[in-house]
């Protein structure tokens, strides 16, 4: 049973200050921190911006952040790519995790499909209302 979030965050702060010169910690904070920041910046663009194309750019940034997070989870220190070559068939113990890579492969293609359909809807909306700001599109309804 883990402690509550506040205690865990205090422990995390102390651990980060203690290990701030270790290479592993730096890489970990680099990869995870960048992906979490990308998700937050994309969410800010979706929630705050007025123009529809900006909102779809924000969706694309959120997709990139999530894919980076998933692949960062399956990384092993000094690991190699999960491909066998003649002569290295016993190196199973040092390969990185291939399961998140297969999932992210599917996710990238589907993310592109969602962006394409969303942009076709944007073209259609522009042809009907002649503007792309969501304030005026909502006002035109009533």
């Amino acid at each position: 049973m883990q402690e509550c979030t506040a205690v865990r965050s205090c422990n995390l702060g102390i651990k980060t200050l203690y290990f701030s010169m270790d290479t592993t910690e730096l890489i970990r904070i680099g990869v995870y921190g960048t992906s979490i920041l990308l998700i937050l910046i994309g969410l800010y663009a979706v929630l705050t911006k007025r123009s529809l194309i900006k909102i779809i750019i924000g969706l694309s940034i959120i997709d990139g952040g999530i894919h980076l997070l998933l692949i960062g989870i399956g990384y092993i220190k000094n690991g190699t790519a999960p491909i066998f070559s003649p002569g290295s068939e016993n190196a199973v113990a040092r390969m990185v995790d291939p399961v998140p890579q297969a999932l992210v492969l599917t996710a990238i293609v589907i993310g592109f499909g969602v962006t394409a359909v969303a942009l076709s809807l944007v073209i259609r909306l522009y042809r009907h209302h002649n503007t792309l700001k969501i304030d005026e599109i909502k006002n035109l309804k009533w």
């Binding site: 680099g30 990869v31 960048t34 920041l37 990308l38 910046i41 994309g42 800010y44 663009a45 911006k49 007025r50 123009s51 194309i53 900006k54 750019i57 924000g58 694309s60 940034i61 990139g64 894919h67 980076l68 692949i71 960062g72 990384y75 690991g79 190699t80 790519a81 491909i83 990185v96 890579q101 992210v104 492969l105 990238i108 293609v109 592109f112 962006t115 394409a116 942009l119 944007v122 073209i123 522009y126 503007t131 792309l132 700001k133």
Partner: protein
């Protein structure tokens, strides 16, 4: 890092053409990161889809609709 700078630029820029080019730069940097994390299949897919096709679809949409975010920002 380059990723966070490009993301902030894509969110805050009023000229939409520069914003989608910044999205392409984000995809390019993600491809490099995927290679460092030992995932060559994912890097190939992200390079082909994120850099080429997503940018082209955004540019075709901008061609058929507005170019600037507000109408009063045209300089």
């Amino acid at each position: 890092m380059v990723l966070i700078a490009a993301a902030l630029y894509a969110v805050y820029q009023k000229d939409l053409l520069y914003a989608v080019i910044a999205t392409g730069v984000i995809s390019l940097a993600l491809t490099g990161l995927f290679l460092v994390l030992q995932a060559p299949d994912v890097a190939l897919t992200e390079a082909a889809i994120g850099v080429a096709l997503t940018t082209i679809i955004f540019i075709i949409t901008i061609r058929n609709t507005v170019r600037y975010e507000d109408e009063k920002d045209k300089k």
